[in-house]
Symmetry: C2
Subunit: 353 residues, 2 copies
């Protein structure tokens, strides 16, 4: 029986060149008919429940983005068109027997109330949706968690007792990297951009040290204070001057896990600082870029989920979340990522069920 | 029977902050008595025959060098004191049975006519000194060769058919990297700083392409011309803008072998350009610093020497050398490294035998 659903989609009005503002976005209203979902097809109509807000999306909103230029990792977003992003949703109608009405799923959805998904590989059914809060399937148990876990263990390859520095340490990924590293037996120091965040790192997440980078006039000296024996691994979410300072304080055979470049997302033309290549050579440092998704194969994903679930059930990891409500609040939630507003994973709840 | 030898040593008059000049150096005259070499000791008196001139030495001549600051890779050189460096020499007197008078050796000597070596691990006897020219034991068969070989094969890990870019490609290391890569089955393009050098790369060394970077107004576009299918490995001897341009043209999972930073040695304060970290992440690029000496263990060294000797005997590798004569010409030979004067390995012949 055909049903017409009133849909809303959040889109960009135009390409975004610098820091994003709330009025760069607008809601468009459309209709979706359930008759689009033909029995025997690969189409599934999903109601979005929660959406993940991720800084890398900003790169896709630029008129000419590095990523779009050369690598099909993150396609450019087109003004007025759908914005795809990770979410948790509920199946409204399905043309394929693997998905049934009311199944809870996670995967690549859209910034919208409803989404028609035509590539079923993009969706995974939540097998045990009551075991953890739904939002965990957007963050710690999916992309953010995998990115933190794989970056630390597969790229950084820590040894117990090594000394690790994490930037944007109270963010969705940094907060997990630091906790994984502590549980593994490393010394962990993080930096963040407010007193409140620093307190959370030390008091709630158990970091060995934390500092507010905005209060430091010399990042190299700040890192020297916390790493008198040098840094073995730098988990880099910011690039620029912080990367330069970390490399300057690094031990021989140190590793930089290149995960994000917050210092550059909002102003790619104004790159400040960078690693000193003489240090890189003499100290035999490796800088390695990676994407969490490179480690989403069955073997790696199973290892990550099993470890993380165990930690969660044992109460050994804290999950920081920054939750906003309503599709109309996507712009403020997203813009907040670039203004240092969020603590932990930023999520927009679109619907309760 | 004691003999007094009149020695000359080449030293720096003062720390060198920018590009070196010939008058930054001076020759001091001293005496060395053969009675210093006691029978049963670990001391060997060596007459220097040929000395290797290497750009990294400049970093050791600075008043406050990165290397000296943090890592004991290359100790600071002190004005008026001996400058250690690789050389080939002949034993004049030995206190240890492993070394006999007139043995030809290679190892860490000094910029001098005569050297007393007290750590025999720093010397290796040339087992078959007539097989190749003596100078090969300073370049292609020792540090330059090992640095090229290990950098390409152990750090860069090429696959046949991959596309490799080499900077300072007519230098002591670059000229070997390009030839190893061609013999291995890669597509190789190099850059250098003169028409003559470019011609040598293409005509004598068999590079697939070569360009004069001084004639290019946009390095990114220059690399695009030669690498329409992207760069898989960049063997970096210069850093700065060239590194930035190479990363911009790199393929996913590309590797930067960080071997030298010529753009920075003479002016560390004026760092221009650098890798775009967004590219590094999206393209999952690895930048790895290394030193040839990290691969000087028996296994790696034997592999390198065996491969290289075979190529040489088969006439498959060309050896480019820039030979100067006389200890008094060390300054002009050394300074020439930073003025783009040398083609291939720069060597100063101190004595014929």
């Amino acid at each position: 029986m055909e049903e017409i659903l009133s849909n809303q989609i959040m889109t960009i009005k135009h390409s975004i060149e610098g820091a994003p503002n709330e009025d760069d976005f607008e809601v468009l209203t459309t209709n979706i008919s359930t008759s689009l979902i033909k029995p025997g097809s690969n189409s599934v109509l999903v109601k979005c429940l929660q959406l993940s807000m991720d800084p890398y999306q900003l790169n896709r909103m630029k008129s000419f983005s590095t990523s779009q230029n050369s690598v099909a990792v993150a396609f450019k977003l087109v003004p007025g068109k759908l914005i795809d992003g990770y979410g948790v949703g509920k199946v409204v109608a399905s043309g394929h027997p693997n998905f049934q009405k009311d199944d809870l799923i996670t995967g690549l959805l859209n910034w919208a109330l409803y989404v028609v998904v035509e590539d079923l590989n993009l969706l995974q059914k939540l097998l045990d949706p009551t075991e953890f809060p739904l939002s965990y399937h957007l963050g710690i148990l999916r992309v953010s968690g995998l990115t933190a876990y794989a970056g630390l263990f597969k790229v950084g390859k820590p040894k117990k007792g090594e000394r690790i520095f994490v930037s944007t340490a109270s963010g969705s990924i940094g907060s997990l990297v630091g906790q994984y590293a502590k549980l593994f037996g490393c010394y962990v120091v993080g930096c963040a951009g407010s007193t409140e965040k620093v307190a959370i790192l030390q008091e709630k997440l158990g970091f060995d040290g934390a500092f507010n980078y905005k209060e430091e006039s010399d990042l190299k000296l700040a890192l020297q204070r916390y790493f008198q024996e040098g840094i073995d691994i730098y988990f880099d979410n910011v690039g620029g001057e912080m990367l330069e300072a970390a490399v300057a304080n690094m031990n021989p055979f140190g590793r930089v896990v290149a995960c994000g470049v917050m210092s550059q997302y909002t102003d790619p033309t104004k790159r400040k600082g960078g690693p000193d290549m003489i240090d890189i050579i003499y100290k035999r440092i490796t800088i390695q870029g990676y994407l969490g998704n490179d480690y989403s194969d069955e073997h790696n994903f199973a290892e990550f989920v099993s470890t993380t679930s165990s930690y969660l059930k044992a109460g050994q990891m804290q999950v920081l979340e920054d939750i906003h409500v309503g599709i109309e609040n996507i712009p403020s939630a997203f813009v907040g990522l670039f203004r240092g507003r969020n603590i932990g994973k930023t999520i927009v709840k679109i619907a309760d069920d």
